[in-house]
């Protein structure tokens, strides 16, 4: 056991901060009285922590969660860029079962935190759209896989860089993403071609839009289809972000400034 203990001591030695992922109140209490910096990363601040990073998604993958947490903590200046951080979280169950040491300096930011927090649209809106896309990916349209493209934020500019493929079913309607009816509605409309345009405040401005940005200089992984190319291009041309559900591989991807930022598998949620 001694070897194990020493190894564990090595892992937690000289850490600047402890990241607690969805901690219980008692766990947080025991760390709070300690003199190391404690950052809580959870979907909700249930323990009233002063230093808190909100998780917009229930990332099932621990690495994704850590990535988001570290980027969020850096952005909010809870930790320095050369800090050593120990993350305590759960891989399998809801009880903390793993300790991960991360060196913030050797960490290449993917921009996943910025995708949510530093975009034009409100984080809750992006979150809602992502939820809808994941939901759509899980269920599909009548059991068949569907694809969908949501352009979120900077709607005025996006509308000017696109044209209608047909009549806009959302004209003069006041539907916001996050409304309970939207899941059903978008599922029906997802059989339509083209993109959904959603404003900063979450209003669904239009469906059936054909995006016409210039795809010049868009750098997205090869092998992705026209839908992804359009998504990447429109986010490079405007300040919008794009969330794409791929019809072929069923993954949900998020683009910002022409780059692929986030990739989640709906089946994992």
């Amino acid at each position: 056991m001694n070897a194990l203990r020493e190894f564990l001591d090595d892992i937690v030695a000289d850490t600047d901060a402890v990241f607690l992922f969805s901690p219980s109140a008692s766990l947080y209490q025991s760390f709070e009285d300690d003199d190391t910096e404690v950052v809580v990363i959870a979907p909700e601040n249930t323990v009233d922590a002063g230093t808190f990073v909100e998780l917009p998604l229930e990332f099932t993958n621990m690495a994704d969660r850590i990535r988001f947490g570290v980027e969020g903590a850096l952005e909010q200046e809870y930790v320095e860029e050369d800090a050593d951080v120990v993350c305590i979280g759960d891989v399998f169950d809801d009880t903390p079962d793993s300790i991960v040491r991360v060196q913030v300096a050797e960490f290449s930011p993917s921009g996943v935190y910025g995708l949510f927090v530093n975009s034009r649209a409100e984080p809750s809106v992006i979150n809602d759209v992502l939820d809808v896309a994941v939901e759509l990916g899980k269920k599909g349209q009548k059991g068949k896989p569907v694809g969908a493209l949501f352009v979120v934020g900077d709607a005025g500019k996006v509308m000017n860089k696109s044209r209608p493929l047909s009549y806009n079913p959302f004209e003069k309607s006041h539907v916001h993403v996050g409304d309970p009816i939207v899941n059903v509605m978008l599922k029906e409309f997802s059989r339509l071609d083209g993109a959904f345009v959603i404003s900063d405040g979450g209003k669904i401005v239009s469906a059936y839009r054909y995006l016409e940005p210039s795809a010049e200089g868009v750098d997205i992984p090869k092998g992705l289809g026209a839908r992804h190319m359009a998504a990447g291009a429109v986010t490079r041309d405007t300040n919008a972000i794009a969330i794409v559900l791929s019809e072929s591989d069923g993954l949900v991807r998020a683009f910002k400034s022409g780059e692929l930022i986030l990739e989640v598998d709906p089946e994992e949620y």
Binding site: D154, A155, G156, K157, V158, M159, N160, E171, K172, H174, V197, S199, D200, G201, K203, V205, S206
Partner: protein
Amino acid sequence: MQFDWPAIVRSLFSREAVTAVAISILVLGVLLAYLAWRYMHYFLSDAGIDEAVEGTAFERTAQRFGTSTVGLIATLVGISLYIAAILLAGAVSQRFRDVSLWSPFVAYLPNLFVALFALMIGLIAGDKAKLSVSEKFRSIKLPEAELLPELVKYSIIFLAGLVALGQLGVATEALLILLAAYAFGLVFLGGLAFKQLLSAGAAGVYLVLSQPYSIGDEVRIQGQQGIVQEVDVFVTHIESEGEEYVVPNDQVFAGGIVRIRG
């Protein structure tokens, strides 16, 4: 139809039996009061009253006296039942010879309890309202903003006090006039202060419903030209070349809209 129950009891039983009945009424009253006290405790806790009042000044004061809001209400109910039983027993056995001395007080009792209850609810509701208002204003770090929750709290306590005093039959005309003046001031000054917001909202309802322009249109409102990014009830966001104008909706109406068709 009103029965004189004590008289009926007295005519039915002998003198000793009446005393026995009176005593049993007393015992039953104590039992009933205790049961009511227990049940109220259970019922109020079950209804989440103790959680709802947690943190209010009233609850804290109650706790300093070794009880709680739930306990106080339950005790109040218990005591009222107990007193009712005592009075009933007294009436049956005719113990209290000089009834005329008692009856005004007896008639007054229910009012007293209602008044106490109203005061209690007022205090708790005032505290609760203060908490929820200050919760709303917590993000606003402004010393003046702390005045508003207090104002809300004392308004509610004032109303509760008025109800309680009205129950007790105290002359409340002066206080009512004060209330009227206060309400008038609130409505008048509030109307004055919210004039802009109200007219913007009224214009916004039209804009949102009939959508003379929608997101993506290029418009000019009061000299500001740009692309509409967002329309809500109070304001319209227009953006052009990195500049975003937030135009109140009443301005849209006052100045009209120019839609630019390219």
